[in-house]
Symmetry: C2
Subunit: 678 residues, 2 copies
């Protein structure tokens, strides 16, 4: 929340809501329940009745982030006997053309904070208003005429919402561009855009405020876009074998509400309409110390920046901030058992508030499963001991928490993988459907322009070049809240003469503690360095600082010009890694109000304060980046492309934490016997 | 083989070997069989009788690489009816202090080539000579006296061989350093080195040629080094669940000799004493074209460079070239079923020639299995089509070919993963045991020096900083032999005024075809670029060049000084990616003779010829690099750290090659029924 003076709205004391059936959820991070969401709606409706004229709408409703010290007190108290922090909802609503931030307290059933947002940008779009905008355009006469003029059938047209971004305008309305697509024989909506029209809808007034028919472009045929197995024709293939997977002792994880316990890990799993899957209070059990130790206070998606690389009229504005504009939770899908997640998975539902505040459920929005990939956790064969041939092998297993969010065309598989060795691997798999532009060409030899901004992936279809930058917010609390960020530089040394061997060089480490934010902005790949989050107050018995290091994936950074509007709005992509001091309001790298934001409330701006980050409660922001030059294999759907990173214990434990894990027994049963009730 | 004039040794025609039971293996790349190895031994022994005085030994015996055009003719002929190339063995032997290269032809049972190597360097060490050197040192009186002087028990000492490298000497002998370790309560050999002695053994003379007792260092206790589950004491944990995995229709792969067929892939799998697992003739079936198309003619480990970062006497020379010095095949282990490879794996044995030419078998040296990791091959949820909610998900499965090579302390898991989408993922997992040095310290606060060259990982034990550079040789033949290497640079463009939108920038691709080797040396991470191997003679129906692109892992390069001797010998680590024109003799990046090499026959030297590589048969060399600052979690064994890369089809196919793969049926059976014989 921006630093703005706010007015506490004291709710009338004569109004009391029955509390007879309301039991607050057990965990302070549990997502808002249907009951709580209804309560929010009821409480707010008293002051802001929802009317037919769409003047007050719920754009975002989420758990109001509780005070961290209160959460930690509660979490660390024996049997959680300390009072949990008050449960509250944070609401961003649209009220007659303005954004209003309301905090509702559940115990008092009162609005305890209420203020108008005076800065730039708008909140997340709701599903209802996108659908309403769609319906509006489909009834807008000039649009219908333009469709007819193109020789297209209006009943086969789908209209989608696209955010407009900001391109230097002093003031902007809460408007969107709408983009029509043509079905007519294909259900792969995104693969047949109808270009050439500029159709702007003001969401607050729900009116078409601009319409231009600039040109009529080509319309690719519907062929080759089918992907439903029930509709595809033979030959099928490649041929892959079925498999049966089963755990005779049952799954290894236990789910207690939203708390997951597995092997040596414990964490809370929640759902937010903007972030999607949220991991909280991830701790690992240390057998030596006989207690759980903190690792990750909170980890979740903060933003996904997806700019396209065609500067022309129909494309220049496509520079999505998917979570902030469309909601990575709101866009999450119901996972299909046995395919989206393996046979041994468990599922959790997600609930979020619709535009009128009514709870909307996405069933099976997250899954948890044990991953037996056939990997080796550790091994050693010792051949040097006379008369003794030693082989010790431990098969690997990890626990995966997964969500899929489909923001229009792209399906993003978001995963958090917990390993018994203490590592947490996080990442994103890109799949789904490309965004394409129709062209007159079927072959590269026909191309007249210098640049078609992508690749011809099918007849009359160009897959447009684009990027994906997926930023994770990681509030690491390595064995406690006060941490430091260490950049262990690997420096080449010339062997000193005093050493007197013929070796000329070696590398050693030069420890640099990042004192302020400026020292912790990292463009990966430029230096040989280890990046470690340490607890400067905790050392191992050998005096090494307890920590977790970052093993990055391949590095990509934004290539847009610094002064380009999408890049100003997404300046958090200037570096792959950032560190900030913990600040409850710094959650969304694109700012609290991402739609049509002007870049004044991004991670990059917060970081300019150059605050101290040594021996402080710090937060890491890691961005997985992909530059995507489409190819024909991406059409009509794209085989998953995965990118991620690992957080790995570094002198966190006194020795290998899985040294004493008994080898898992993995077997196969060509025939198996009935287990009758004994 | 170096370009040296050779003398053809004509075998006496009066000597004929019975051929009654010799059937040549069916595939030109099949590894030398036990019969063939015995034949080699017999044939060579006629001219070079092996004597007790160790004057003639077999250092390397491998399949002599057949002529590529003959292999391709054979492979592409219907039913393989074209005559395969002649089968031959290539032998490097030590003959009275010199290296002799002999080629034996199996059909004529004759030596057809025989020459002395006149350059620098020595061939791979044999197991026997390492063991002999060990035994020698253990009986060497000054050594025994030094052991006693240190208060150690000689019967608890193990002596290992370490190559010496080259440090500027004009001429070198074929000598090694030997390093003693102390057991005495621990079987984890590498974790208790006995430092302070320089013990050099000349392998050709099998004599200790230098012995210096420089100092007596600390000896860490044996505690905490145990890793055998049978010997460890409770508490055990973390607790992991067992699992049963079974394929009701059987595994999807078929193995025919050494040829593996699975889904849409076909490849040959072989074993070489220096490279280990070798993949050949990997082709993928294209359903549209109804034929197999070439992808990878040959892929295998070429070298593993493992330099340590302590310049002092006991460490400065430790800069292993593991494959060239110790043999990555020779050091490969027997894989343990159910742990090293999952329950559904199949295994292949490997055979190599021992020092006297006798075949030595490593059973289960490679495994093949289908990996069901619970990943998603591709998916899409379509929410835009009115009245239709579409969800299509395809669970992923791939085929993994795996080998583990344990070169002393480190276990390297080498993997080739074939995906139905056409991708091949390759990589290496590091596990096993650290190399450590004994110190007087148990705590960092006690350290007096500026640098201890590593981390205190246990009492009196420092894990020494080091690197691993694992180079894969990849003779890609993308849809044919003549390929080019394209560097698609991603360049930022300012939007031209003519475009007339407020977008200021975007990136586009600038295609650079590498014409010569100099243009294809890549240090990853410095530029935003796509690296693609294309077939300039093959285009898709849309005119895109058929290709495979490289998706690198995180990039690491060597930090040693360019003039440092290990770096000269391993100059192939100056770049992460190299391209060379196909040359049958260019196989080992460290040179044919790696031990005590002087760097004159490395990939870096060949590349200086700056040969043409456009529209040629080209080879890619990719190096996976790790800088390793040890931490306590690496002790006493290290949880696997994996690094790799992906080769991904890029306009190789006309569309998504797994679009029409039927979804795999994955189920779980809490109870199952008996399958009786019906």
């Amino acid at each position: 929340m921006a630093q703005v003076h706010f007015t506490i709205f004291i709710f009338s004391s004569i109004f009391v809501i029955s509390s007879s059936s309301f039991i607050p959820p057990p965990h302070p991070f549990d997502p808002l329940t249907e009951t709580e969401l209804k309560l929010v709606r009821t409480i707010i409706n008293k002051s802001y009745p929802i009317g037919h004229d769409h003047k007050f709408t719920f754009q975002y409703v989420g758990l109001n982030e509780p005070d961290k010290s209160l959460v930690l007190s509660w979490h660390s108290s024996p049997g959680h006997n300390v009072k949990p922090p008050p449960r509250q909802a944070f609401v961003i609503a649209r009220d007659r053309g303005k954004s209003r931030e309301i905090v509702v307290d559940f115990s008092t059933r009162a609005i305890i904070s209420n203020k108008i947002h005076v800065g730039n940008g708008n909140p997340k779009l709701t599903i209802d208003e996108q659908q309403a905008a769609s319906a509006l355009v489909l009834k807008f006469k000039p649009f219908c005429d333009s469709i007819v003029k193109r020789g297209l059938n209006l009943s086969e047209v789908v209209v989608t919402s696209s955010t407009m971004g900001w391109f230097g305008e002093k003031k902007t309305k809460r408007s969107i561009r709408t983009i029509p697509f043509y079905l007519n024989g294909s259900v792969n909506t995104y693969l047949r855009p109808i270009e050439g029209m500029t159709i702007i809808v003001n969401l607050d007034h729900m009116k078409v405020v601009e319409f231009k028919d600039r040109f009529t472009g080509p319309m690719p045929k519907a062929d080759g876009r089918e992907y439903r197995i029930s509709k595809l024709k033979p030959p099928f293939g490649p041929s892959l074998r079925n498999a049966v997977f089963y755990q005779p002792d049952g799954p290894g994880f236990k789910i207690d509400g939203h708390v997951v316990r597995w092997a040596n890990w414990e964490f809370h799993m929640s759902f937010d309409v903007r972030a999607g899957l949220v991991i909280s209070l991830a701790s690992i059990f240390d057998m030596d110390m006989n207690k759980y130790r903190q690792v990750l206070y909170k980890g979740h998606l903060s933003e996904m920046f997806v700019p396209y690389m065609d500067p022309n009229d129909d494309w220049y504005f496509i520079s999505y901030l998917d979570c902030g504009e469309f909601g990575c939770g709101q866009s999450a899908v119901s996972l299909e058992p046995y395919t989206d997640c393996p046979p041994n998975a468990a599922f959790m539902d997600g609930v979020f508030a619709g535009q009128d505040g009514t709870p909307t459920k996405i069933s099976n929005v997250m899954c948890i499963f044990e991953k037996y990939a056939g990997d080796i956790m550790w091994r050693h064969t010792e051949a040097e001991v006379p008369g003794l041939k030693i082989t010790e092998v431990r098969p690997d297993v990890s626990l995966v928490a997964r969500m899929v969010t489909t923001v229009g065309n792209y399906d993003y598989i978001i995963e958090y993988e917990f390993k018994p060795s203490g590592s947490i691997k996080m990442g994103v798999g890109l799949t789904g459907v490309l965004e394409v532009k129709p062209v007159e060409y079927v072959h590269t030899s026909e191309i007249k322009e210098d640049d078609i901004y992508g690749t011809i992936v099918a007849d009359n279809t160009v897959g447009v070049n684009h990027d994906h930058f997926v930023t994770f917010r990681l509030d690491l609390d390595i064995d406690g809240t006060d941490n430091s960020f260490v950049r262990n530089e690997l420096v080449t040394k010339r062997t000193p003469k005093s050493v007197n061997t013929p070796r000329k060089s070696y590398w050693t480490t030069k420890r640099n503690i990042a004192k302020t934010e400026a020292e912790a902005r990292v463009k990966l790949g430029l230096r040989a360095e280890e990046l470690v989050v340490v607890n400067p107050n905790k050392k191992t018995k050998h005096g090494n600082e307890v920590g977790y290091r970052l093993l990055p994936g391949p590095a990509s950074s934004s290539l847009l010009a610094q002064d380009d509007y999408p890049q100003i709005r997404a300046a958090f992509t200037n570096y792959n890694v950032w560190i900030t001091p913990y600040n409850k309001s710094e959650v969304w790298t694109s700012g609290l109000y991402a739609d049509r934001s002007q870049g004044d409330d991004t991670l990059a701006v917060w970081s300019q304060r150059d605050r101290e980050i040594e021996k402080k409660d710090i937060v890491m922001w890691y961005t997985v980046g992909f530059h995507h030059v489409p190819c024909q294999e991406d059409f009509p759907t794209m085989p998953t492309m995965f990118g991620g990173f690992e957080l790995r214990p570094t002198n966190f434990f006194e020795q290998n934490p899985v040294l004493k894990a008994k080898p898992i027994n993995l077997t196969t049963i060509p025939k198996c016997t009935t287990k009758k009730n004994d």
